[in-house]
Amino acid sequence: MRRQLRLSIACAATFMVALIALPLLNYYLPELMSRRIFGFTLTWFVLGILFFPLVWIISYFFIKRSIALEDQEAGAASDQNKS
């Protein structure tokens, strides 16, 4: 459970860095964020499009790790029972 919580917090922290940073970048570097990329402003492109793949990647990574941790936990418990 502690390792699961640590994993959850690490994933949440990664996401929160992005979530907290974007308004700050908008606030302090408006020139940079209003640069155009494929017609979008940079900030629009990040928020309107790139954010979604970011959460997909984080959640995919989390699921894989989390299920692996559960398997380890279950494996360790059944080993104990055998001995």
Binding site: M1, Q4, L5, S8, C11, A12, F15, L19, I20, P23, L24, N26, Y27, P30, M33, S34, R36, F38, G39, F40, T41, T43, W44, L47, G48, I49, F51, F52, P53, V55, W56, I58, S59, Y60, F62, I63, S66, I67, E70, D71, E73, A74, A77
Partner: protein
Amino acid sequence: MNIDLWIVTFSALTVIATIGMGFWSARRSKTAHDFYVAGRSVSVGWNASAISGEYLSAASFMGVAGMVMSSGYDALWYPVCYACGYLFLLLFIAGPLRRFGAYTIPDFAEGRFDSPLFRKIAVTFVLFIGFFYTMPQMKGAGTTLAYIFPGLPYWAGVVLVGAVITLNVALGGMKGITLVQAFQYWLKMFAISVPVFVLMAVYGHYGEHIKVNSIRPSTVAGWTSYGGMMSYEGSEIVRKITPDKAPKDEAWISPFGPLTTKAAQAAKLSPQQARPYSLLYTYSLIIALVCGTAGLPHILVRFYTNPDGVAAKRTTMWVMILIGVFYLFPPVFGVMGRNLMPELYNGLTGVKGTDGVVLRLPTILDAQKFGPLGSVLSGITCAGAFAAFMSTFSGLLVSITGALAHDIYGRILRPKATPDERMKAFKLFAVVGGACAILLGLSVESFEINKLVGWAFAIAATSYFPLLFLSTWWRNITMRGAATGMLIGGTLSLVAIASTMFADQAKWAAGLKTWYAQHPLARTLAEQPAIWGLPLAIILMLIISKLTSRTVPTDVRMKMLVLHAPEKLGLKQEYIQEHHAAH
């Protein structure tokens, strides 16, 4: 808009398909278990589609596009945070909540703290959030139907949507609704994406349309305007000149625009002075939307339909993907609407103004060149809007019915009821809940209630989210701590938001309005209370739990094991068990 045959056809098909699926699945829902949690056997794909279908309400289907059109960049936070909220649900709540094996969230509240009192508090919040969320759905159904079919009275839409869904819920319960909601997700996805692709093929793609919203169009060379239209050098997009009521391009496309500066504008601050308030507003909005999503009871209850905790986690990931893909499209409508249909900046609220952009934008396709294509696409988006009202209301009604039939009747009033009686109770209370929702919907026609969904999110973020988060991960939380934090956090946030609404609308609160105008900081914090409400609730829970640490449930280790142990260990113990013997 004249009554269009295509719109009638597609809307009618959606309603008929919904009723048909209700009857079809009614034959397959036989036990109380089926009615409350769909037999706990919904596969990942079905459940993810159903949760997405339930979550994408009319506010998502039409409102997000309308908000992007009217407020620009800042409105993008809504779709992004609506989708990202599920990440928190995945990381902290989905797996443990499912493993607990309850029927409803109040079940969890009672079981986790061994406290029947806490069930009552939790059930009050479920009903409160449920009806708060229901009223705007009903009003939306009424006004949209009256708008699509001119001449129909307001009550027709409310009664139609209310009656169809009440029938479905009463016939099939959670199991019946799962199929309908999953179907309605894919219908909505189809209805929002196909028109976007067609419109982009004809009028230029998403990026091109944003490109012509240049930061300073009037001062930049390269613009030519003629006869109400203007075009930009080097771009094929021809845009209509935006009326004066619309926000200027610069404010529209850059962050900290009209949406987040209301408080500062009331205080007559310069744009430069207003920026810190906008930043604060943005952060608070993010917290409310992200944590609110992870605390909406009618969404959470769907996780109990998964077979186990791992499936619950997988489901959440797929929900994020399904919802994320959907949310790429509404902003495109908003952006194209700004360039191609600026007449919607008419100052009217609801579907008559910018919120109608999803329904109306396809009609700009020239009938002579494209035949009935514009009408067909508009019919499809109208059908999508119908699906949105129906699927969200069906989820809300299941949640409300669960609270009434399971928590109040089955647990508080008649704990000894047999599963068969519980199933009958579900059917009965579905009709009662549906009737209440219709009556409430009929009585709010003239009220400005679109904000209520925002209220529901703020309350969920400051009450349910901290409750679920701490009680799944912190073993020393006590009932008193949890209840105090939840009640005070939720209530103060509600009072704060309500005060800004009264200040704006009620005459007796004129004094408050002037006070808020002088104190933009207070106004910002009151309008978006999550930034202080959530920490307040968590701190209260921590402090009061420390003070009452003697009342930590004695078997808390066992409870934590049930919440977190993998199913493979064989410790699975459903809080509510099905009594097969009764059938």
